[in-house]
Structure formats: structure tokens, C-alpha cells
């Protein structure tokens, strides 16, 4: 078997207990949610925490709620399967439901959580490998080594954010609620709510700004504009299981006259941070969905995306081909969103 390294397992029943464990063990402890990313990574000896703290028994972290303000609040431990099939999510944030429905395979969606997906480690073909493999390679910057094999001679890790829900949540303007250990002497919960855009940094080694020992407790999605439409497009080799080779989330706000009033596109599986495609509103706003002008604006947006998105050799497969698919997937996904359809996926 591909054995796990030895660790101690803690299964706190409350958030406070969990936070206390992180306060106690510091960087020796790691949270585990569904484990579908952490367990393979530990088996590959990418992480060898002394203590693994399971969040699974903390009931408060699970569930999907619509607040009176029309906000969606999704507990970090809510499974991807639940996110994908929730009618509240499908109605209010279709792009998220679609992205979640295309993650991995059915069993992994039953196990994997939304919080775990947001917090997913970056991926790279030179990194997500067994210990033996990486030893034979001589390791790389991200773990145990000094060189990058993607940008040869480069001094920075460009491992790819590969979490499908990240771009979806970004187009939705989601915020993330983190809770950290309460500092000694304080009694108030150590809460931090940040825009998801503020989570990312352009470093493949750790692509998130987080505080020591803090836990992502919930994902909040503000009420969207009245004519909100969204869709997710995912390029991958197989019809299931595979991580994205390119992913794009689209938000279109459409007025009653079918004219676009706002738009956003986010891309993933390129470099360390998922990113917005810039200057697209200039092209799209004011265009009537379904018109020829809209179609040509979509074409221009696809070109913008092509210019801004440069897949690298961090993922397996042909980076040139992935780049070529950027405008195709962006265009198809925009059209799908406009039509209230999606996801865009080859099967």
C-alpha cells in the first residue's frame, strides 16, 4: 500500500476545541476536512504533520443557509456533492453548483468539502508525485529542493491553483470567514472575514494569505444582481476525475432588456493564483445577450483572455494546446452563461 506517514489524529467536536488544538500544536498540526487532497499529499510525503485535526465532527461547519438578506452562507465542511445539488446554490450561484459538479468523481465529491476545495494546495506535475519519484527527480523548489522544473532557472514556484470552485467564488464576490485561536487573555472569537480575492498570493509554494492556526469556517456569497447568470467551463482530458487543465467561471448580470450590466470572468489552473480576466466589462456591458454585437464582444473577450492567460508546464499535457483552448472555453462559457446553460465540458 501507499502508506500514510504516522501522525496523531484529533477529532474535536467543537470549533473551540479545534482552535485550542491548533494553538497547542502550532505548525505541527493540520486540519483535515474530506481528506481527498490532504491524504494523497501525505501519502506522497508532501505534508507530514504530527497531528491531524479532523473537522468532520464539528457540526456547526456544515450546511447551506440563505440569510434574510439573500446571502448564501455555506459551511466550510459542506460537501461538494451537497453544494452541487443544493437548489439554493443552483438558483443563486449557478456557477458554483456547476463548478462543484465537475470536481473529481462522484465519491470524491461526496467526501470533499467546499472549504477543502478553497484551501486546496497548488498542483504541479513535478510535485504531486510519490516520495521516490521526487527523490529521483532531485525535488523542486516547492518541496525539499532548490530548482523549478517548470520555469527552468526561475526562482519562484508557479504551481497551479487547481480548485474549480475558486474562480466561481471569485466571480460571485464571495467572502471567506476564518476563525483563529483566541489569543490568551481575549474572550472574543478571533474572526476574520476577507474577500476571496484577498486570499491569494502569487506564490505556488503557499498561494494563500492565512494566519497560523486559523480555520476556514464559512463561505459567504452575497446576493447577486437581479439578472444574475453564471456558468463554469472546464477543460480536462477525461469526462470525470481529472483536475482542470483550464477552468473559467463566468458571471453575467443581465438587465430586463437583456443588456449586460456587469460581467466577470475568472480563470484557474494557470499559475499559483486564480485570476480575473481584466477589462472585459468594457466589451460586454451594454450588449444585448444573444445579439450579433454580443457575439462579437464575446469574441473580443475571448481574445483578451487569450492574451492574459498563459498556461504553463505545471499541469500534465500540452501547455500550448491549453492556451489555445483559453479563448474557446471562455467564449463557450460566456455563451452558456448568457443562455442560462452550462457547464461547458466535453461530456
Amino acid at each position: 500500500m501507499l502508506r500514510l506517514p504516522k501522525f496523531e489524529l484529533e477529532e474535536p467536536a467543537t470549533l473551540d476545541e479545534a482552535l485550542a488544538l491548533f494553538a497547542e500544536h502550532g505548525s505541527d498540526a493540520m486540519p483535515i476536512a474530506g481528506g481527498t487532497d490532504l491524504v494523497p499529499n501525505m501519502k506522497h510525503r508532501l505534508f507530514e504533520p504530527k497531528v491531524v485535526v479532523s473537522l468532520a465532527r464539528i457540526e456547526a461547519l456544515t450546511g447551506i443557509r440563505v440569510t434574510s438578506g439573500g446571502e448564501l452562507e455555506i459551511g466550510a465542511m459542506t460537501t461538494l456533492a451537497d453544494v452541487a445539488r443544493s437548489s439554493a446554490v443552483q438558483e443563486r450561484a449557478p456557477v458554483l453548483a456547476q463548478a462543484a459538479s465537475l470536481i473529481a468523481g462522484p465519491q470524491l465529491r461526496t467526501m470533499g468539502t467546499l472549504g477543502g476545495n478553497v484551501m486546496l494546495d497548488t498542483r504541479c506535475q513535478w510535485y504531486n508525485q510519490t516520495h521516490f519519484w521526487r527523490t529521483s527527480l532531485g525535488y523542486c523548489l516547492k518541496k525539499d529542493g532548490t530548482e523549478c522544473h517548470v520555469v527552468q532557472g526561475g526562482g519562484k514556484c508557479v504551481a497551479a491553483a487547481s480548485n474549480d470552485t475558486a474562480p466561481a467564488l471569485m466571480t460571485l464576490g464571495a467572502t471567506l470567514v476564518f476563525q483563529g485561536p483566541t489569543p490568551p487573555g481575549e474572550s472574543k472569537a478571533n474572526l476574520r472575514e476577507i474577500a476571496i480575492d484577498a486570499l491569494w498570493k502569487a506564490d505556488g509554494i503557499v498561494n494563500k494569505h492565512t494566519e497560523p492556526g486559523e480555520i476556514l469556517t464559512a463561505i459567504r456569497i452575497p446576493a447577486q444582481a437581479a439578472g444574475h447568470r453564471g456558468a463554469y467551463g472546464k477543460l480536462r482530458d477525461r469526462g470525470s476525475i481529472d483536475f482542470p487543465l483550464f477552468g473559467c467561471a463566468v458571471r453575467l448580470d443581465v438587465g430586463t432588456d437583456e443588456a449586460v450590466t456587469g460581467a466577470d470572468i475568472c480563470a484557474v489552473a494557470l499559475v499559483a493564483r486564480p485570476s480575473h480576466v481584466k477589462r472585459i466589462e468594457d466589451e460586454l456591458v451594454g450588449q444585448r445577450v444573444g445579439s450579433d454585437d454580443f457575439a462579437s464582444a464575446v469574441g473580443r473577450v475571448a481574445e483578451l483572455a487569450y492574451k492574459q492567460c498563459r498556461p504553463m508546464d505545471n499541469s500534465p499535457g500540452d501547455a500550448d494546446y491549453r492556451r489555445e483552448m483559453v479563448p474557446v472555453y471562455v467564449r463557450r462559457t460566456l455563451h452558456a452563461a448568457a443562455q442560462g446553460a452550462g457547464p461547458v465540458h466535453h461530456v
Binding site: 500500500m1 510519490t130 521516490f132 482530458d237 500540452d318 494546446y321 483552448m325 466535453h346
Partner: protein, 785 residues
């Protein structure tokens, strides 16, 4: 012994089959369905140790020294072994013994086995591996077969000719140059076939136990129990009589478990050393290193044809990337040329194939061993010939059909041949005439044909003994137990044996038990490779059952005082054909026979007739019967993404007789799936460091059910004169033509000829762009072979 003389394809009792030809359940189906079937890793023995292998991180290096002392000192470690403990070389082909259970002085690819440790558990064994110190002297690593061909310093193996060539075959039949001269059209091109691997879902596993009496028992996920038995004896330098090899239920193989493997020797040696049972279960990554998968080939073909479609000559040159060891490579190098000579008839053929060593995981026999790659090149080329002369692609294949009872240009005897019916089937089912060439842009149909062997008369090590043996034992309850050395690897060969014996004896299938692939209990069979099992083991089973049947019939006839012709065994009874009131249960008939003849039992065997061309290598690829296949594939091409979808595949396969059509269909469907998978998704290769590019079931993209085309399988029965009731193989043939049929369908859909596998979307887009580029700028592949 020549059992082939006595069976015919007819039902044993003259009129209709009782069991054969019906979609029976498999005899082990419910055990597998309920999780009760025991596979190698399911074996847990008291006091069992767990072993792990230390592997080379270098693609090519000398081993200066290995120090295992620290590992041995680790608490919980019971033994550590290195190549010095088992220096005898082996190889599944006895002429090319170039493997060691553990490297002795040199490693030849990243993942090559260097040392092994047995400990109380896997964690301890893994920890011990980290304590083994190996001093390597890295050597230049060959990752490119062309470089390996041209350069001989350093040598990967110390070959006689001091080159990196593993095997070279050049054979010439008929007047090739004259044939090409006389042709109205000649098509010449380069093709390239990439590597792929078997990836059975069960990883390799072996368990060994060493008794105080010196008996060594090995349970292993192998498809060649007999060869493992021989290899163990030779490598361990231990008498074969004291070794028992058992194949438990096997979780898939496809050729990937048909070499003796390092883990088998290691657990045996470790068990002998420690006196405790030892298990080794490879991780998925290790299975990728063990490989023995499809050889990458670079192929150059030249085919000439007359305007009427008849092929005048074929000239082929093939460079085969063998990876680091010989494995079956000698045979591969022959098969690459020898197995092209059907289902078409042509007067002249030449092939020159060269297998070179490289520092990559060793290639070997994957489903359709050696002949899938040439078949791809040739069938695509034939399509182009048809295009050039303006002939329908099915028509040109009909035109060149060799027919039955004939001899191929390379001197192979062909008996039954239902290829023409296969073509008819797929033509009708796919609505070819109204749809091919007429579907909207982006959609197309393509056809291809192929043939494959049903066993070979080349028995790996030269001997005149039977290639397959069977023993039957009768219980007084009416149960018959069949002992067969045959390896059921999931294809259902044990079930087939049960059906045959049941048919012969008039027994219900559930009253036949099969004990298989245990060298202590079962007569020798050579193993599950070259699609030999149904044909050979099947014939041996009929042979044995007929002998038993004769005794039973004779005893019943004697008891009833009637002529034996009047006694018939059917439906679990012996009946009198002339007296409807007379009948006894078979159980009682067995009792009569046991009273008359003493303890009942019989043996049966099969050996091939003398076959093959009268030239060196002429027996390699000589088969007692050939199976034939035709595919039509419907492909859809997304011209914007370059993604190809094989929408539907119609596959008609001539398996002689379908002993169980449901199992034949399963083999056809599995073959089609595997062919399309390697054409579109799978790629087994190393990266620029010589490291496997992605040794996992995540990065090695095997299709899921949503990725698999709809498959319609058709069974064509040509009733072979020598097969068991006329049966031939079905497990490998139906893979071959799926790949060129897909390539030809892509041409029909969008007008591009893809000559380089796999057909990734990027390549498709490039080809589409090239096609749109102005004439003259199109660069046809230069000579690369």
C-alpha cells in the same frame, strides 16, 4: 497425443449443443460479485512479513556498492537482500536472459529493482529502505531509440554484437521491388505508435511461504504459473519439485503479468531466508515501472496496389523502442512483421524490424502483442490506397481478402477465416453505404480489419511435450473436477473449460468444478498469453472429457446390455436412445464406470500440429488458427477544440465458435475500449529526466464509462476445423483494427490523416491547420526510421 485429430467442431452428441453457445454465467462470477473471491493480496498468513523494494533513482548507472547493514539493524526488519543473493539471470524467453531479480552490477531505468527488505509491517520495511546505502556511478541514459541505435557507448546490455540492438529481424517474401514497380499506386509514409501500459486494476502481489520440509509455495498474481515455476527454480537455484506456484484469482493482466517479476523471486528468497511467510504488494507506481506494455514503434510503410485494388507488395521498416530489458522482445520483433499477412492476400512482403534497448521501463506484450502497431500503420495506408484509386475502403478490403484454407505469403497456414462476414456485419450495422462519406463535416466513419493468432506453436522453451494438459477427477456425488494449468486472468478460461467438460459429459455446469493454475495440483499449461488458452486448453479439456465419457458410456451400455451407441449422456442423465423409459442419473452412471474401470479419471492434452514457414523464425507467429476482426468506428471531431469522440464502434469478430457469446462479447468490448483508450487518451512515457511522466491512475488517463464509446459487438462463427468445437481466440484480436478504424473515421470526418498516435486534440488542431495551409507548404514527414 495429437488431440486435434479426434474432435471435430460438431456437438459431441450429434445434434445440438446443450451448454456451448449459450450465455452462461461464469463459474466464479458470484464469488467475485460477493467479494468472496481470493486475490493475491487477500492472502493473510500467520506471522507474515511484508516486503518492499528499493528502486534505482537513476536511469542508467553502475552499482559500486550496496550496504544494507543499517537496514538490517532496524528493529522489526527480518532480512534484506540484494542482487548478490540471486545472481542467476532469467528472462521469459530463454534465449535472452538479461534480467536479475535485483540488480547485480547495474541499473537500467528509474525504478529498476536494487534491494528488498522484509519486516514486520510495511512501515518498517519502508523505513528500512531509507537506510540502505547504494553507491551509484551514473552513466549516459538513452531515452531516444534512434540514439540508442546509433550509439553503442555505453552499452545498456553487454550484447554479443556490442550494440544497443536487442533484436533485428529481416525477412523477405516474394518479389517486393518488382511488385512495387508493377503497382499503379504506391503509398509511402511514416507512422508512429506511442507506448501504453496494461494497468490492470489489481497491482502485482506475491506471497511466499517456506515450510520446514523445504517446500516453497508462491501465490502470485501471474498469468504464467508454469514459467514462474521454472524461473524460480533456476534463479533461486532450488529444485523445482520443492516449489509450488499458485495463481489465485487474478485482477486483470492483459499481458502485464506474463513475465516472471522481481517481487516473486524476492518474496521467495525472503521467505527462505527468514522461515516466515512474506508478502509483497506493489504500489500502483511500481506497477507502472514494471510495465511490459506496448512497445513504441516508428514505422515506415510502402504499399503498392493495382488500379483494381489488389495489393502488389508491402515493404515495412520498423524501429522498436524496447525499454531496458528483453522480456518477450525477441517475439515482439518477429510479431511486428509476421502477423501482418492476413486477412489480406498479397504476393510480396518484406519487413525489417529492429528492437533497441533504452533506459526506460521495459516493454513487453500488451494485448495484441507486437502486431497492433503495424496493423495501425498498414490499415491507415490501405485506406489511402483506396482513396487514391477511388475505391470504397470496405471494398478494397474485400478485394484483397485471402479466404479460408490458404497459406500466407510468409508461409503460415490459415484455416477458417470469417473476415468477409465480419466486413458484411459492420458494413450493415453501421449503415456504411448510406452514411460513409456523406455525414456532415466533423463526423465520419472508418473501417479497418485485422487478424490475430490463437496460440502459437512456439512454446517459449523448446520441447515436444503437450502445450496444454488437463486432468479430470470424478466424485461419487456426480461432481467432476477439472485440473488445468491454464491461467484464468478474468477472461473466463476456467468457465470455458467447465462448459466444455459439461457439454461432453452431459453434466450441468454447476457440477463441474475447476482447479486451476497450481503447479502442485494441475498438469502443465504454458499460461495465458498469445491468446492460446481457449484453443489449447479447450482442446485438451475435450480430449480428457471424451476419454472419460467413453468409459462411462461403455459401463452403462454394459450394464444395460445394449450397444454403446444407444447410450447418451445428457441433462445430468445417461439415457437409452431407443428406450425412453430407461435412464439413470449421471452419478449412477459414474458409479457403474467406477465399478467397471476402477477409480475414474482421465487426462487430455493438446499440442499444435507442425506449422510455420521453413525459415529461421518461421514458427513465430505460426498459429493453429487465426481470428479475424473488422471494425467500423464513427468519429466526431470538434474542429475547434480538436477533441475526437469515438461515438460508436461496431466490431465483428470471427472467433470460430462462440463457446459463450456473452464472454466473447465481453472480450470484444474490452478490446475495443482498450484500443480507443490508447488511441485517444493513454500515453506511457518518460520525461526529460527519464522519469515516468505520471505513474498513477490519475495522470495515466484511462477512460471511465462516460469516456467509452458505445460498442456493438458482433460474433462471427467460421467454425474452425481444429479449435475446440470450432472456437478460436477473442481476447486480443478485436483490439487491433479499432485504432486504424478510428484514424480512418477521422479522415472521413475532416479530411486529415493522422499517422502519429495518440490522437491528442493538439495534434488534431495542428493537422487541421496544415490542411488549410496552401498546397506545397504541407510538410510530409521526412524519413525518421
Amino acid at each position: 497425443m495429437a488431440a486435434r485429430d479426434i474432435h471435430g467442431p460438431a456437438p459431441p452428441w450429434g445434434d445440438e449443443f446443450q451448454v456451448i453457445g449459450k450465455p452462461h454465467r461464469k463459474i466464479d462470477g458470484l464469488a467475485k460479485a460477493t467479494g468472496h473471491a481470493i486475490y493475491a493480496d487477500d492472502i493473510q498468513l500467520a506471522g507474515m512479513l511484508h516486503a518492499k523494494t528499493l528502486r534505482s533513482p537513476h536511469a542508467h548507472a553502475l552499482i559500486r556498492s550496496i550496504d544494507t547493514s543499517q537496514a538490517e539493524a532496524l528493529p522489526g526488519v527480518h532480512a534484506a537482500i540484494t542482487g548478490k543473493d540471486m545472481p542467476v539471470r532469467y528472462g521469459v524467453i530463454p534465449w535472452t536472459p538479461d534480467e536479475n531479480a535485483l540488480a547485480v552490477d547495474k541499473v537500467r531505468f528509474i525504478g529498476d529493482e536494487v534491494a528488498a527488505v522484509a519486516a514486520i509491517d510495511e512501515d518498517t520495511a519502508n523505513a528500512a529502505l531509507e537506510l540502505i546505502e547504494v553507491d551509484y556511478e551514473p552513466l549516459h541514459a538513452y531515452l531516444d531509440p534512434v540514439e540508442a541505435l546509433e550509439r553503442s557507448d555505453p552499452l545498456i546490455h553487454d550484447t554479443k554484437k556490442q550494440t544497443n540492438v536487442s533484436k533485428h529481424v529481416h525477412l523477405d517474401f516474394g518479389e517486393v521491388d518488382a511488385g512495387l514497380e508493377a503497382a499503379d499506386v504506391v503509398v509511402e509514409d511514416d507512422y508512429s505508435f506511442h507506448g501504453s501500459t496494461h494497468a490492470p486494476i489489481e497491482p502485482h502481489c506475491a506471497v511466499a511461504q517456506f515450510g520446514a520440509d523445504g517446500l516453497l509455495t508462491l501465490w502470485s498474481s501471474t498469468q504464467i504459473t508454469h514459467y514462474v515455476h521454472r524461473a524460480l527454480s533456476s534463479v533461486l537455484e532450488y529444485p523445482a519439485q520443492k516449489i509450488r506456484v499458485v495463481q489465485p484469482c487474478l485482477g486483470g493482466a492483459f499481458g502485464g503479468k506474463s513475465d516472471p517479476f522481481s517481487l516473486e523471486f524476492c518474496v521467495a528468497k525472503l521467505a527462505m531466508k527468514t522461515g516466515r511467510p512474506v508478502k509483497m504488494l506493489w504500489t500502483r507506481e511500481e506497477v507502472f515501472y514494471a510495465h511490459r506494455g506496448r512497445h513504441p514503434m516508428r514505422l515506415h510503410y510502402k504499399t503498392g496496389a493495382r488500379r483494381d485494388g489488389r495489393i502488389t507488395a508491402i515493404d515495412a521498416r520498423i524501429l522498436i523502442d524496447g525499454g531496458s530489458y528483453s522480456s518477450f522482445g525477441l517475439v515482439t520483433t518477429y510479431y511486428a512483421g509476421q502477423l501482418l499477412t492476413g486477412p489480406y492476400d498479397f504476393p510480396a512482403y518484406r519487413f525489417d524490424s529492429t528492437r533497441v534497448f533504452t533506459n526506460k521501463p521495459p516493454c513487453g506484450p500488451k494485448r495484441g502483442h507486437g502486431s497492433v502497431q503495424p496493423r495501425f500503420a498498414f490499415e491507415v495506408q490501405l485506406d489511402e490506397v483506396a482513396e487514391k484509386i477511388g475505391m470504397d475502403p470496405i471494398e478494397i478490403r474485400r478485394k484483397n481478402f485471402q479466404g479460408s484454407n490458404t497459406e500466407t505469403v510468409n508461409g503460415q497456414r490459415v484455416t477458417s477465416n470469417g473476415f468477409d462476414q465480419c466486413l458484411d456485419k459492420v458494413e450493415t450495422a453501421s449503415d456504411w453505404k448510406t452514411r460513409r462519406g456523406k455525414l456532415p463535416y466533423g463526423q465520419g466513419l472508418g473501417v479497418a480489419g485485422s487478424m490475430y493468432i490463437s496460440g502459437t506453436n512456439y512454446p517459449v522453451y523448446p520441447n515436444k511435450m503437450p502445450q496444454a494438459g488437463i486432468q479430470l477427477k470424478v466424485d461419487r456425488s456426480g461432481l467432476v473436477t477439472v485440473f488445468t494449468g491454464g491461467n484464468d486472468i478474468g477472461q473466463g478460461s476456467n468457465s470455458v473449460v467447465a462448459y466444455l467438460v459439461a457439454e461432453e459429459l452431459g453434466l450441468a455446469v454447476e457440477h463441474v468444478r475447476v482447479v486451476a493454475a497450481d503447479t502442485d495440483l494441475c498438469p502443465v499449461d504454458l499460461g495465458a498469453y498469445s491468446s492460446r488458452v481457449t484453443f489449447m486448453v479447450g482442446n485438451a479439456a475435450i480430449d480428457a472429457a471424451r476419454k472419460l465419457r467413453a468409459q462411462v458410456v461403455e459401463a452403462v451400455a454394459a450394464a444395460w446390455e445394449v450397444a454403446p451407441q444407444r447410450v447418451r449422456l445428457i441433462g445430468g442423465h445417461a439415457i437409452d436412445l431407443e428406450d425412453a423409459d430407461r435412464g439413470i442419473e449421471l452419478r449412477e452412471a459414474f458409479h457403474l464406470a467406477e465399478e467397471k474401470f476402477d477409480t475414474l479419471g482421465s487426462t487430455g492434452s493438446y499440442n499444435t500440429p507442425t506449422l510455420g514457414g521453413d525459415y529461421r523464425g518461421g514458427t513465430i507467429g505460426a498459429s493453429p488458427a487465426y481470428s479475424f476482426t473488422a471494425h467500423v468506428v464513427e468519429a466526431h471531431v470538434d474542429t475547434e477544440t480538436g477533441r475526437i469522440t469515438a461515438r460508436k464502434v461496431w466490431c465483428a469478430h470471427d472467433c470460430g465458435r462462440a463457446l459463450n457469446p456473452m464472454l466473447v462479447a465481453g472480450q470484444i468490448e474490452g478490446s475495443v475500449y482498450m484500443g480507443i483508450a490508447e488511441a485517444l487518451l493513454e500515453e506511457h512515457d518518460v520525461n526529460r529526466f527519464g522519469l515516468h511522466a505520471g505513474p498513477s491512475l490519475l495522470d495515466y488517463r484511462m477512460p471511465l464509462s462516460i469516456d467509452t464509446p458505445e460498442i456493438e459487438a458482433f460474433v462471427v462463427e467460421s467454425i474452425d476445423p481444429e479449435g475446440p468445437y470450432g472456437a478460436k481466440e477473442a481476447g486480443e484480436g478485436p483490439l487491433h483494427s479499432s485504432i486504424p478504424a478510428l484514424a480512418n473515421a477521422i479522415h472521413d470526418a475532416v479530411g486529415i490523416r493522422l499517422r502519429e498516435l495518440p490522437f491528442t486534440p493538439g495534434k488534431v488542431l495542428r493537422a487541421l491547420r496544415e490542411k488549410q495551409a496552401p498546397a506545397g507548404t504541407e510538410s510530409r514527414a521526412a524519413e525518421r526510421v
